[in-house]
């Protein structure tokens, strides 16, 4: 038994087990898809730290298994995620989704344990190829969405494979410069290939401006597909960055932008699964900052946060998936009041929301704080401030907006059944894990890359608990105030233009209409000028009517006097300055 375990590579059971799925039906298939991740997890736990395995292929010696603390913690959480996803997807009748899930999870796990860049590349590509079926499956389930699902899937695939091609280029250049294809810590100037590898990882980790494939594709997958997608690819990239580029300072500002930039979109977005995709991006930012800081505490934090994140993000997406499954929509503008018909789902969603907001007692609190503390120890005040701002932001879009608009808010008259049992089971396990990690962080800390450093870290310190509670409760208070004042932006169905505009709108228009880039830029600039001009004209003319018009209001003599005085004062200043 043990000997057999030594010969298999982690993930192999899932990859090959998936091939059996189409040949069994009904309960047997359900049992199989739940059993495979459990078996594979058991296999992983049998491999000891320091276990290595190599295979020879086409003249290369591939270091296909490397079990160390860093790869093990990602491996374990990937297995838990795979198990939860498989349970959550038990209602799916067609084999396609189950096979795609298992192959995708298996290849992500195998990539995590790859000790050299070539095996990493192989599994890296396999994750891309297998996961796209989770998006296309939506088009199969729902013929109305066929074209859309196909297009989204193609865009997703192009980005993913693009990342793979960059990775391959980087590997080849790296090999020719250094003579090694081992996957170890490198710096951006180690070889000509390193920057390519860095960008390849960056695409999958959703760096700013390279991020939009996440928000484009994830919400378009099936009910369970989105949960699966959100668990693996981006976290695999986080692992790869932690392995290859720990301590690369460039990652600190990149990560900080990632924490802050997507939350503005998350506030505006109406599709709640897309809100969660933006918030996923924000959470990745924390991990990227941690990897950039590169101290032992920071790397522990990044790994721990990835672990916790997979669970609470999965939980949130599962609850939204259940809503989609029951009501047919996850648009905030159409939802509300669901806590009456889906109380358990509501409860689980709130647990996920509190976890992601880093509420004391839940998983996000004990993991994110390590990253924030490490930034504090490095004395990076601006980054520290950005992370605090982003923490309040998370509290808004994931902590409040998602549960509030789906389950509370204004009762929209939905009368639906509670989520199916298997979904509740998957959500329940995830919720228990979120609480468990929050209450007993020591259990997780043992598995971190630097367990002795983690043992020294105490998340539940009075200052920390108090300040975090203050931050979150006052953010909540701000929400209450904004709602009461009626200035909280209403949920509107709309497309919010993001960086994918470049390849979804601008590039096709340039190609279709045969503009040169300069002409196109001029046209866009001109249309902006026209927009400003017409806005100004509207200010003067359309809104001129006294009751509503901006300039139509009667001016009080005191205001007029004030403005005149200000103007004269300004002229004096200009004249004598």
């Amino acid at each position: 038994m043990n000997e057999l375990a030594q010969q298999l590579f982690p993930g192999e059971i899932l990859l090959f087990g998936a091939m059996l799925v189409p040949f069994v039906k009904g309960k047997l298939r359900s049992a199989l898809v739940v059993l495979l991740p459990l078996l594979s997890l058991g296999h992983l736990l049998m491999l000891e730290l320091g276990h290595d395995a190599t295979v020879s292929l086409a003249g290369f010696t591939l270091h296909i298994v490397r079990v160390d603390a860093l790869s093990r913690i990602f491996g374990i959480v990937f297995h838990i995620a795979a198990l939860l996803c498989c349970i959550y997807a038990l209602h799916v009748k067609k084999a396609l989704e189950h096979v795609a899930t298992l192959v995708y999870a298996g290849s992500a796990i195998a990539a995590t344990f790859a000790g050299d860049l070539i095996s990493l590349f192989v599994f890296w590509e396999l994750t891309a190829l297998s996961s796209v079926f989770l998006i296309w499956a939506r088009g199969i389930d729902d013929p109305e969405r066929r074209e859309r699902a196909y297009e989204v899937g193609m865009r997703y695939l192009i980005v993913q494979v693009g990342s793979g091609v960059l990775l391959l280029m980087g590997i080849l250049l790296h090999l020719s410069d250094t003579g090694s294809y081992g996957f170890d810590r490198m710096a951006l100037d180690t070889s000509r290939g390193a920057p390519f590898i860095f960008v390849a990882f960056g695409i999958k980790a959703a760096f700013p401006l390279l991020h939009n494939w996440v928000q484009d594709a994830y919400p378009e997958a099936t009910v369970s597909g989105t949960v699966v997608l959100a668990s693996f690819t981006t976290k695999l990239a986080i692992y790869a960055l932690a392995r290859g580029f720990a301590g690369t300072e460039l990652l600190i500002p990149i990560g900080a932008v990632m924490t802050a930039f997507p939350i503005f979109y998350a506030v505006l977005e109406n599709d709640l699964r897309r809100v969660l995709a933006y918030s996923l991006n924000n959470q990745l930012g924390y991990m990227v900052v941690g990897i950039g800081v590169g101290t032992e505490l920071a790397l522990n934090g990044a790994a721990a946060h990835a672990f916790a994140h997979i669970l609470y993000k999965g939980l949130l997406l599962m609850s939204m998936g259940a809503v989609l499954y029951r009501t047919g929509t996850v648009e905030a503008s159409k939802l509300g009041g669901l806590h009456k018909s889906m109380p358990l789902t509501t409860f689980f969603c709130v647990i996920g929301a509190l976890s992601i907001s880093a509420f004391p007692g839940l998983s996000g609190f004990v993991t994110k704080s390590m990253i924030v503390s490490s930034v504090g120890e490095m004395h990076l005040p601006i980054i520290f401030g950005v992370l605090l701002f982003a923490s309040a932001g998370v509290c808004d879009h994931s902590g409040i907006k998602v549960p509030f608009f789906a389950f509370f808010a204004h009762d929209q008259g939905w009368k639906v059944k509670e989520a199916p049992k298997h979904m509740l089971v998957a959500m329940g396990i995830a919720a228990v894990l979120c609480i468990g990690i929050g209450v007993f962080p020591g259990l997780l800390y043992e598995y971190l890359p630097f367990p002795e450093v983690a043992a020294q870290y105490h998340a539940y310190e009075t200052t920390h608990v108090l300040t975090m509670l203050e931050l979150l409760m006052f953010a909540g208070l701000a929400f209450v105030v904004l709602m009461k004042l009626g200035v909280y932006p209403p949920e509107l169905p709309a497309v919010n233009v993001d960086s994918d505009w470049v390849y979804r709108k601008a590039a096709p228009e340039v190609v279709r209409d045969g503009y040169s880039l300069a002409t196109y830029a001029r046209l866009k600039a001109w249309s902006a000028v026209v927009a400003v001009r017409s806005a100004f004209l509207r200010l003067l003319s359309v809104h001129h009517q006294p009751p509503r018009g901006t300039l139509g209001e009667p001016w009080s003599p005191s205001a007029t006097t004030l403005w005149a005085a200000l103007l004269l004062g300004f002229m004096l200043l200009v004249h004598y300055a």
Binding site: L268, K334, G376, K415, L466, L482, S527
Partner: protein, 248 residues
């Protein structure tokens, strides 16, 4: 698969709905307690901080509050820059959205049967929507009517639609005013580039081509304020879009 109930009775209000004020007071109370706790701890305990400013009493409270308000209000302004119609990329799944439950039934004059459309109903309404769109091709005047016909068929032929012809119903029922506003704001955003209204024909409830009703709705209910906010924002959007069209 999607379980839904037949019948019109809305679910009774829950504890949360009855105790909104209590909850709000609770939040305020906790906030005050935390500040007091912070103050006490400031003198009694020893704060572990990385930056001096962190040690100030209430620093995190201020940061939380200001960040949140700043974020939300900035994002709201950002809408002017980034918000476009749902069909901006030309891939909106027109009938993917189930009809807004409120706009479908509440307070209908005759025997309405279901408040929520399940998946079956949805599929039906999609087929009807297709039919409606075909008709549209021939007689564009029928646009709104045919879509509403398709809808009402799928809902058992009895629902009230927020629609020009049925203005009176809208006025009669209080609740509908709100749903009307919802539908309105959404349709305002959706039909922002005027030409697109065609593709929207079949799906959810749209209030096009009816300026009168616009005003009427404002009279009915004072929640109009928030909706008119949204409206004016999307109005601006629409103009921007038009201008873009012009420029091109």
């Amino acid at each position: 698969m999607s379980g839904h109930d037949h019948g019109n009775e809305p679910l009774p209000p829950s504890w949360f709905e009855k105790n909104v004020d209590t909850i709000v007071r609770g939040v305020i109370g906790i906030c005050v307690l935390l500040l007091v706790g912070d103050l006490v701890f400031h003198f009694v305990g020893h704060k572990h901080v990385h930056f001096a400013i962190e040690g100030w009493v209430g620093f995190y409270a201020v940061v939380g509050f200001i960040s949140y308000v700043g974020l939300v209000l900035t994002a709201k302004q950002l809408r002017k820059l980034v918000m476009r119609s749902p069909d901006f990329y030309g891939d909106e799944v027109a009938s993917a959205d189930p009809p807004h439950p409120h706009s479908v039934v509440v307070g209908s004059s005759s025997d309405a049967t279901s408040t929520v459309e399940g998946k079956k109903g949805l599929a039906q309404s999609r087929r009807d929507a297709e039919v409606a769109e075909e008709e549209e091709g021939e007689e564009s005047e029928l646009d709104a009517e045919s879509s509403s016909a398709a809808e009402s068929e799928s809902n058992g032929g009895s629902s009230v639609h927020v629609h020009g012809d049925e203005d009176e119903d809208v006025h009669e029922v209080d609740d509908t005013a709100e749903s009307a506003l919802d539908a309105e704001s959404s349709s305002a955003a959706e039909s922002s580039s005027a030409a697109e209204s065609e593709s929207n024909g079949g799906s959810s409830v749209h209030v096009h081509e009816d300026e009168d009703e616009d005003e009427d709705v404002h009279e009915v209910d004072d929640t109009a304020e928030s909706a008119s906010d949204a409206e004016s924002e999307s109005d601006e959007e629409s103009d921007d879009d038009d201008d873009e069209e012009e420029a091109r």
